[in-house]
Symmetry: C2
Subunit: 214 residues, 2 copies
């Protein structure tokens, strides 16, 4: 089967399984991509969108802002060709020598220390959390106490300890647009799919714009 045919068939199945959802076209596109990537229809259906999430995400990408991730696995899943097209790049600081050293000294996770380390980088960017609840908790703290203002947070950490709480904290604020969910599911594949869907939407808008201007 040709790769394009595999993808078409997968999206047909995803659309059938999702059924009719009361969402905007752009939110639906993100939900479909997450379902396609994870094969988890219920998780995709359960995605929570801040009303400004998609618009602010597209805006940030098109302005050339970067994408900061909590873990390398999520960074690896982001389509580099797409983000570089807009002049942005991906960044992940979990293995930076200063992060490793400071995390050990403070008895903190490397993922949360990496967010603290990226305080300046995070302004105006798309921040994506696909693994560590502690990274999302630190990000929320920085938003509350230090005026940290990413353009959009894709907050989908996974796990049994702290993931639900961190996502509830994110969805409970209204300062920074977010995409999140309400249970322990999540993960790098889901977060990467959401980010890549936004990159596709940004490219699509740009194409339309170019053809209108021509």
């Amino acid at each position: 089967m040709h790769p394009m045919e595999i993808e078409r068939k997968s999206f047909r199945i995803v659309s059938e399984l999702l059924g009719k959802l009361d969402r905007s076209g752009e939110e639906l596109e993100i939900i479909r991509r997450v379902a396609h990537a994870t094969a988890d229809i219920e998780m995709a259906k359960g995605l929570l969108f801040h009303p400004q999430a998609v618009a602010r995400g597209i805006e940030a990408v098109r302005a050339g802002h970067n994408i900061i991730t909590d873990v390398h696995m999520l960074e690896a899943g982001i389509n580099k060709r797409f983000i570089e097209r807009f002049g942005g790049r991906t960044g992940c600081f979990i293995a930076h020598p200063r992060v490793v050293k400071e995390a050990a000294a403070n008895g903190a996770t490397r993922a949360s220390t990496a967010m603290k380390f990226a305080a300046f980088e995070l302004q105006g960017t798309l921040a994506a959390i696909g693994n560590a609840p502690s990274a999302l908790e630190e990000l929320c703290r920085m938003m509350e106490e230090e005026d940290c203002r990413p353009a959009l947070i894709v907050g989908l950490p996974v796990g049994f300890v702290g993931a639900v709480e961190a996502k509830a904290r994110l969805a409970g604020q209204n300062t920074v647009p977010y995409i999140a969910n309400a249970d322990r599911r999540g993960g790098s594949a889901a977060a990467a799919a959401a980010v890549n869907a936004i990159l596709r939407l940004a490219a699509k808008d740009a194409d339309t714009l170019v053809s209108c201007q021509a």
Copy 2:
């Protein structure tokens, strides 16, 4: 909460939710790590182990063999410090210029073309598939027709098209040991957790060996 305490708490919850399973201690360790990484207890419980899977995986790692993955996301999730300790490294060829070119020319997926490309590399290695059913299908074909003999295949592709079929083909043969499952779930996080669990078991055995020799 200290990182170690988060991990301990998570594994306590995982053990409670898994309940009593009729598995070897090493298989149980892999199941626990997959559950911890994905927060998907049912998927972890459903892992299928070839009787020689764990032993052959540990043996290959300790002999310094490499780990070949289908996608960069899975490669990014593998603990480099652990594998390099044994003299091995990770490899993923999905973005190799020749793979990209040949896949386009043949109307094949890049992931399956990358397996073909790695024919020599795959002998004796640990092969891990966390995303693409077509990569696992190609690997099975190479085993059937070209004497391709990885030491162990961690086969956990995900998705609605071909994932179940590819994993059934893997679990239906007895030539190459495997870890797989029987439904559409899987993913890079699950595959990375299984591989990292094997690396941990290999290191543990090695530590024991060293202390016995001392």
